[in-house]
């Protein structure tokens, strides 16, 4: 479990990025951290693997204080996937790229080889094993970066804006992959502003605004509250806005997912059909 206890962080420039953040992340959790630009999302992510140490409060990863452990050590458990894959890629082949983290952590060549194969397979990158990462498309490079972090099988996976620039199919693949990971007992934390993606994936949502957590809860309750959503410079998911307009028909307001929406509407529409049939 990763625990943040009353974490506050101020940059050297004096800018206060986080204030009094309390948070627990356990295996099997799927969490979405949302908030406006500058709310502190990336700052928070960097505290989870020790890149940043809190100015006040502390961060514990499996009981160890991040101030007492090196980033390299914490990275064995906490995998942070940066938003722009180009900040990571430097190897001659995709294979070498994915092997980098494994080599840094001192695994034997046999283990490295096996893990690289497995990870490439899991992410559909096996055909690119010998390719240069720089010649791949944007979406493929993003997957290579993800593979590079996943290869060492961290318990906690932090994804910084994984859906930017991805088309719908790519996002579906990502969603399924995340599902696999947290159902295997890993923790997945996603920083995102993609409201519809969150609405369909149903993580627990943590809303950050100006460095503080202003809301936490299931996606359908957090994202259907207008004032909260506005504060975070987001918009309510389409389903929520739709059901807002249909409130007078006795429909609940905290609906964000299309499938739940459909079930609720099916009921009302069937009733209406029955009424029509009876009246004619």
């Amino acid at each position: 479990m990763i625990t943040l206890e009353k974490v506050s962080f101020t940059y050297r420039s004096g800018q206060r990025a986080l204030q009094d953040v309390d948070l627990n992340i356990e295996g099997g959790d799927f969490i979405a951290i949302m908030g406006e630009n500058g709310a502190g999302k990336t700052t928070l992510a960097k505290h989870l693997n020790g890149l940043l140490k809190p100015s006040q409060g502390r961060v514990l990863v499996d009981g160890e204080d991040t101030r007492k452990v090196s980033v390299a050590n914490l990275s064995r458990k906490v995998g942070l996937v940066f938003q722009n894959p180009d900040h990571l890629l430097f190897s001659e082949t995709v294979k070498d790229e994915v092997a980098f983290g494994l080599k840094n952590f001192g695994f034997t060549p046999e283990v490295v080889h096996k893990q690289v194969e497995r990870t490439l397979e899991a992410l559909g990158l096996s055909e690119y094993a010998e390719s240069s990462p720089f010649l791949l498309s944007g979406g493929e490079r993003k997957r290579v970066a993800l593979a590079a972090i996943l290869a060492t099988e961290p318990d906690y996976l932090i994804l910084d804006e994984p859906t930017i620039g991805q088309d719908y199919q790519q996002k579906e693949r990502l969603r399924n992959f995340i599902l696999q990971l947290y159902s295997q007992g890993k923790a997945v934390v996603m920083i995102t502003h993609d409201v519809e993606f969150v609405a369909e994936s149903n993580p627990k949502v943590i809303l950050l605004s100006q460095g503080r957590i202003v809301a936490r809860g299931p996606a359908d309750s957090v994202l259907s509250k207008d004032e909260l959503v506005k504060k975070a410079s987001l918009v309510r998911p389409q389903m929520s806005r739709l059901f807002g307009e249909l409130a007078k028909y006795g429909l609940p307001s905290d609906v964000v997912d299309v499938h739940r929406a459909r079930i609720l509407l099916e009921e009302k529409l069937s009733e209406a059909k029955v009424r029509v049939a009876q009246n004619s």
């Binding site: 991805q166 088309d167 502003h193 249909l246």
Partner: protein, 288 residues
Amino acid sequence: MAHAPREIILAKNLGFQYVGAQRAAIEGIDLSIRENEFILLTGPSGCGKTSLCRCLNGLIPNFYQGEWTGELLVDGLSVTTQLTSELSRKVGYVFQNPENQLFALTVEKDIAFGPENLGLSREEIRQRVDEAMNVTGTLPLKDLAPYELSGGQQQRVALAGVLAMKPSVIVLDEPTSFLDPHTAEEVMGATDDLRRELGLTIVVVEHRLDLVVRYAERIVVMDAGKIVADGDLEETLDEKFDLLEGLGVGVPRVSLLWTMLRRDGLVSGKVPTHVESAASSLGDMMSQ
């Protein structure tokens, strides 16, 4: 009596293959765009949308080398015979990443950059810069450095810089990818306002349809380098929904909901494209 708006972009069997590529990025493109249209260009990743946009302002073939086939006329100019700098007077391009298209030290200098390249008189440049700042609401930002601005402000400045060239067409290539949803809606709304005020033709490339459906009347869908659908947005969503879904286009959630209910026979009628029309159609169905 109103006359039909003139044709401002005409592509005939347009094709392009980048140097060293295995296959053509776009091929057999036949496209006609009229003045003042708002077009949504969409399709799965790698379908050629960006390549098509690059042809519109001359980046292809001037900046990107490769094999060109077919014809492309933009406001009367044939793209293959013009330099990008000439075409930039006709077609403006707003890129996906706000940071990498602004570079001057102040917003004002950045907006002036385009007109300066045209060799206009200082007075003319001054006038264009002021107009562009006024119409995009970026006047209060004029002495700030681009890197001090938020993503949304940066995109508005990029728009202003493009407007200062006084183009007739503006191409926006996934302009809201890096923006949060609220700002994305603002930028889209501002783009449509500009279209109405200045009579511009707008082409927006976007994966997430719900952002643009309110403004775009026409949708052009591409797949593997070819155009697979081209027509009125609402009609195409209604008639070709399965095609779009199959391609992995991000159809609006309300449209998806409606088609699911329609398949079950619980609703009938045209697929709504945004929340308000969906609410009113569903309301009608439920209050029978």
